[in-house]
């Protein structure tokens, strides 16, 4: 078992003929993901790389290929529309890689997805990977190893850094999930913690947060109440100045709220082992397991 994706994942790539979409589709196919369809309006009938049929609409792709999951690589201006379309077509899991979606678009997208009982991961996220099983998104497969540690993160490359530490020290991953750096996202820490807690193949969870908002604080409350597995946590942005957006649209300290110190304290109160630096992940995990 793994979390959200597994060998049954049948993927449709929205924007498969674009620059990013085609590159990562090849990477996902090479990794072993079942990429069953692509979508680009006007290119229905083409076959991507001689392997993946392309459709004009997600509805067509689902009807013809029984896809159950979508990954989105379309430009920001049309990414909200792509999520609406994926949800409308009945997909259960929608992973939106695209960065730069207006937050007001997300205020309308999120209830739409929820009403249809679908799960959205992202936007502005690296996706997720269940090593040796399936990869949906852009997390480099070569840094991951199959194993029993769950990883959930608001970040991209910082996640790779920490996963790399895990893999090189013998801690494989059940699933690594990048939930994205935007203020409004479909799947948050709590959703992932709950899934890892329920997953028989996950022994411990690494949680990588950053400044901005209160998601980590709420996740810490959740850990205290509902997570019995060891959790190790990191917060990026201890040196970030208030009021400046640190790259991610969500990484901004507003007033006195959303600071790294506040989040690290919440982690500690909830019994989460707090890393001071990314290299601490392995020793802390060893301690707890």
């Amino acid at each position: 078992m793994s979390v959200f994706i597994d060998g049954e994942t049948r993927l449709v790539v929205q924007g498969i003929t674009g620059r990013d979409g085609s590159f990562h589709s090849r990477q996902m196919i090479a990794y072993g993901t079942k990429v069953v369809a692509g979508v680009t309006p006007g290119k229905g009938g083409q076959v991507f790389d001689g392997v993946v049929p392309v459709f004009d609409t997600v509805a067509d792709a689902v009807r013809e290929t029984r896809a159950n999951t979508s990954v989105i690589y379309v430009p920001a201006a049309v990414a909200a529309s792509a999520i609406f379309e994926a949800a409308d077509a009945g997909l259960r899991l929608i992973v939106c890689i695209t960065e730069g979606i207006p937050v007001l678009d997300m205020t309308r997208v999120l209830p739409y997805v929820q009403e249809r009982g679908a799960r959205l991961i992202g936007p502005n996220c690296p996706g997720l990977i269940s090593p040796a099983r399936s990869k949906v998104g852009i997390i480099p497969g070569n840094i991951c190893q199959p194993g029993r540690t769950g990883v959930v993160s608001r970040s991209g490359t910082l996640t790779y850094e920490i996963v790399h530490q895990l893999s090189t020290h013998g801690f494989g991953q059940s699933t690594c999930i990048g939930i994205g750096g935007d203020p409004l996202i479909g799947t948050n820490f709590i959703h992932c913690l709950s899934a890892f807690q329920a997953d028989a193949e996950t022994d411990a969870v690494v949680m990588i947060g950053e400044i901005g908002g209160t998601d980590e604080q709420q996740a810490a409350d959740y850990v205290r109440q509902a997570v019995t597995k060891p959790v190790v946590g990191f917060i990026a942005g201890q040196t970030a100045p208030p009021g400046r957006r640190m790259g991610h649209a969500g990484a901004i300290i507003s007033g006195s709220s959303g600071t790294a110190a506040e989040k690290m304290a919440a982690f500690a109160r909830a019994g989460i082992a707090v890393m001071k630096r990314p290299a601490d992940v392995v020793p802390l995990l060893r301690e707890r397991l």
Binding site: A76, E161, P183, Q238, H248, R277
Partner: protein, 378 residues
């Protein structure tokens, strides 16, 4: 993107919100002309992206056009929190019977636009939130339905006993909500929402912040950007497609990914150094971006060492290596360079760097420690 008060007032006015007259001036003469047109006393307000304008002497009352010109002359060119004032708003010095607050921002917890109102207007709402939170009324608006009439009226009745004023305020709230979606704002505030002695409800001061992600679809709003209010290095970075924030330390940082960039800064601090900046070169790995990044970092006289921290995923390490080599051919680096690269095409990158006389590390901690040490000794 922050808008100036005069720009925010224009947006509100276009949505049909009552805003007092007034106009923007770039010279004392223009200020005098506006004051003449308005008649009576006016207020001259510095248009600058900084709080505390009043305390800094950037807001002055003038009894007549001559005084307006004199105040404008004093305020224009003044520096407030490091920013030079280039424009002033000249508006009537309104008599105010009461001051309220109305604001809308997108709330992360409810994932909805939240309308906040308070009868304690005219002062910083963060202060009200800290000292008298019960005086702020909040409503998370369901974006599928928008701000409904009865909801706005319910809040209007929290501000005004008079039902006519409550209705006027409710109408303003509904228009402000429409404005948020019309221009792509992440924050829209009216503070104060004032009543005149005659009882009219009017938006006396306004603040609008635009979601940067909306600018592409709102070119008319993007055109309002005033780069004069930003650090030149940050303007250059934005134009080069980089995310850059200037800080006060000595270790210049160049990283791929926002999370890793923050973690790198944190590690610099952990090892006793101070980061000179936040800089994310982004996911794609165009060598030119690396050149632009180095140009911006080296322009900072405070920088004593430069640290590259690259974890190659989509970013290809060889592209970054090529960028470094190109940059050092174009302009001299006056400070030591510490490079950490790992991931995609790492071996190729090391080869490129070695040929050009650079060495590369693979461990983040080691690289940060070395950069901190070099910044200290340099």
């Amino acid at each position: 993107m922050n808008l100036h008060e005069y720009q925010a007032r224009d947006i509100l006015r276009r949505q049909g919100i009552p805003v007092p007259p007034g106009d923007v001036a770039e010279t004392p003469e223009q200020a005098r002309a506006i004051a003449e047109r308005l008649g009576g006393g006016v207020v001259v307000k510095a248009q600058v992206h900084a709080g505390g304008r009043g305390k800094a002497g950037g807001v002055k009352l003038a009894r007549n056009p001559a005084e307006a010109a004199a105040h404008a002359a004093a305020i224009l060119g003044m520096t407030i929190k490091g920013l030079t004032v280039r424009k002033v708003l000249v508006a009537p010095a309104a008599e105010i019977a009461s001051e309220s607050y109305v604001g809308i921002l997108v709330d992360r917890a409810s994932q909805r636009p939240v309308l906040m109102v308070s009868a304690a207007g005219g002062i910083d709402i963060e202060e009200v939130a800290a000292q008298a939170p019960e005086r702020i009324h909040r409503l998370a608006v369901d974006p599928r339905y928008g701000l409904l009439r009865h909801q706005a009226l319910g809040l209007g009745l929290k501000l005004y006993r008079d039902v006519g004023q409550a209705r006027a305020a409710a109408d303003i709230m509904q228009r402000l909500y429409a404005a948020v979606y019309a221009v792509g704002a992440s924050l829209a505030e009216i503070n104060p929402l004032a009543t005149t002695p005659a009882g009219a409800v009017t938006a006396l001061d306004a603040k609008v912040v635009i979601d940067d992600n909306e600018l592409e679809r709102h070119p008319e709003i993007a055109a309002l950007r005033d780069s004069g209010g930003e650090a030149p290095s940050e303007v250059a970075a934005r134009e080069a497609g980089l995310t850059f924030i200037k800080l006060e330390g000595s270790v210049g940082c160049c990283v791929n990914g926002a999370g890793l960039a923050m973690a790198t800064m944190d590690l610099v601090k952990f090892y006793g150094g101070e980061p000179a900046n936040f800089l994310d070169i982004g996911g794609s790995s165009n060598p030119q971006k690396v050149v632009d990044a180095l140009k911006i970092i080296t322009a900072d006289p405070g920088v004593r060492a430069i640290l590259f921290n690259i974890f190659g995923g989509i970013t290809r390490c060889d592209d970054v290596a090529n960028g470094i080599v190109q940059a050092t051919r174009q302009f001299p680096l006056r400070v030591p360079l510490v490079i950490r690269l790992t991931g995609t095409n790492e071996a190729l990158a090391v080869q490129i760097l070695t040929q050009a006389g650079f060495s590369a590390l693979t461990d983040m901690d080691e690289a940060v420690q070395r950069a901190v040490a070099q910044a200290r000794t340099a």
